[in-house]
Symmetry: C2
Subunit: 318 residues, 2 copies
């Protein structure tokens, strides 16, 4: 055990001290959160999914001003004005892009030609191989317990990571349920070389989500989230009035179009940013049960690293 | 790292070398499997759930003849002739009972008065506390990825184990997705003191399941199992003709009684024991994706321990 000087491919690739990436989440991860994570030794990501292009440019500039450490942008590939987003990323000199919810071939070579590192988010082995073909630098494999958008296979982090470790030699980041230092260590034991943390940072002091949303999710009772909207795009939601509407419709066999009509526009913003916890769409992972209080990012990172090292020190051989 | 001499509460409680328990599974875990696991240094369990009382007595006697190591019996508490089963367990001098699918208060004091160790299977924190009140010796916390009967909350092993570790100080065994040495080590990192392994042993040479069932489950494609029958008793099933019938009915909002009628009697036996992989009920965990070949128990254990130690040796501090 080489304590305090971890040499691994994720740290080297991304130029970070700890192999801990903050997930790029809609309505949570603006420049305050991303720069706080980067300043604490991880990799912060701006979540482009909930930003108009010029808003993203503004956040990139503010993030650069707030940290001299590396940070990145997460781009969901179904984003409508994606050409504009990619243009801004290049113009502003962003060094790392995490792409998700789409085909890794779409933008990888464009970004890599500009010298930008590309990491793609997957939920199964088939996409791990597509990522190899596309030439991405690393992958995030995300399990069923993760908040927000998720894979159709429902494979959990505990089963997904060893499987992906077997099917590809690409640098591998584990996501889904990574909240505490124990989770980080377990992810490494499963074969990951780094972790992506969403829920714990969505509920941090620097997250731009509303206090109402954060308080609703803290200490979340077990079973209070559910993977929903499978016909539209599988998404883990907190059980509230809006969820119940969706759930009842799904039980009656509603089509994707019917579901989209009920959802309407702006549900995630209403729930997570504006704090309407009954009518809004609340995206959070199962790991919210493990989050007990709203802490600054620096403390979250410190606790995570301390628990990781303490638990590692106590593990025994068989 | 104290290699080769693990001192932990699960090993001490159960009198075993490795803190690895074989799950008591219907139609898979008779005396051949249980004695093989005990002889390899783990704890074998006879699965009473698929045995008539006198069949169980026969398996207990054969198991005693096949190993001088400790073994136990798993008793689902919804078993119809449970008084008879418990009487046989006492008469035959069984030392360890794992109870599941019911209230831990029902039989714990009866068994403990006879000097029998009691371990109860749970899937949430509320039942962890009921187990403390009931005075059980240890608990198994089982995640969403596990095969067969499962919790309603859908909490995955990765999120469940650290949570249960926080709510109780009882000796804790992790279950659900534990297939490889990586999984065992990750479970320990999450806060478990031992593991219960179902799927990997269900697909071993000594499992009494049919070859057809084993071959269907080997290398199982991702997404090929699903937690079903939530209105009856949530059960993870392989997707086959029978599953599809159930699934279609569930989508149409069928009641528990309607589902039970379609299921009829003997579906698990038909699928797992008789090898009718289309019409039978096939219970297996998500971890089947990680099982590549049918091996004898001794090799499975050897591989698991070797991988555990190798991965532990390579983990770095932060």
């Amino acid at each position: 055990m080489t304590k305090g000087i971890m040499a691994n491919r994720i740290c080297e690739l991304l130029g970070i001290k700890y192999p801990i990436v903050q997930g790029g989440m809609v309505w949570c991860s603006g420049w305050e959160l991303a720069s706080a994570v980067s300043n604490a030794g991880g990799l912060g990501l701006l979540g482009a999914g909930s930003m108009y292009p010029e808003i993203l440019r503004d956040h990139i500039r503010k993030c650069k001003a707030a940290t001299d450490k590396p940070f990145g942008v997460n781009v969901p590939l179904m984003y409508p004005q994606i050409e504009e987003i990619m243009k801004i990323i290049v113009e502003e000199g962003v060094k790392v892009v995490f792409t998700s919810a789409g085909n890794p071939k779409a933008w990888t070579s464009f970004l890599k030609e500009k010298g930008i590192k590309v990491v793609h988010v997957i939920a199964n082995g088939k996409f791990a191989q597509k990522c190899e073909e596309a030439g991405v630098d690393a992958i995030v494999a995300e399990g069923f317990e993760a908040g927000g958008h998720n894979g159709k296979e429902e494979t959990t982090t505990f089963c997904l990571i060893p499987h992906i470790r077997q099917v590809t030699s690409l640098p591998l980041i584990a996501a889904g349920g990574v909240v505490t230092g124990r989770n980080v260590l377990a992810a490494m034991a499963l074969g990951a070389e780094g972790v992506q943390v969403g829920t714990a940072f969505a509920l941090s002091a620097e997250s731009s989500a509303s206090d109402e949303f954060k308080r609703r999710c803290l200490n979340l009772p077990e079973g209070e989230t559910k993977l929903s909207l499978k016909k539209v795009s599988p998404t883990r939601l907190v059980k509230n009035e809006f969820f119940q509407q969706i759930y009842d419709l799904e039980c009656k066999g509603a089509s994707a179009d019917e579901l989209k009509e009920i959802m309407g526009k702006g549900r995630p913003k209403k729930g997570m940013f504006e704090g309407n916890i009954n009518e809004g769409m609340l995206e959070i992972g199962q790991g919210a049960t493990l989050v007990k209080e709203i802490l600054p990012v620096s403390e979250i990172m410190k606790n995570m690293v301390a628990e990781y090292n303490a638990v590692l020190g106590g593990l025994q051989g068989l």
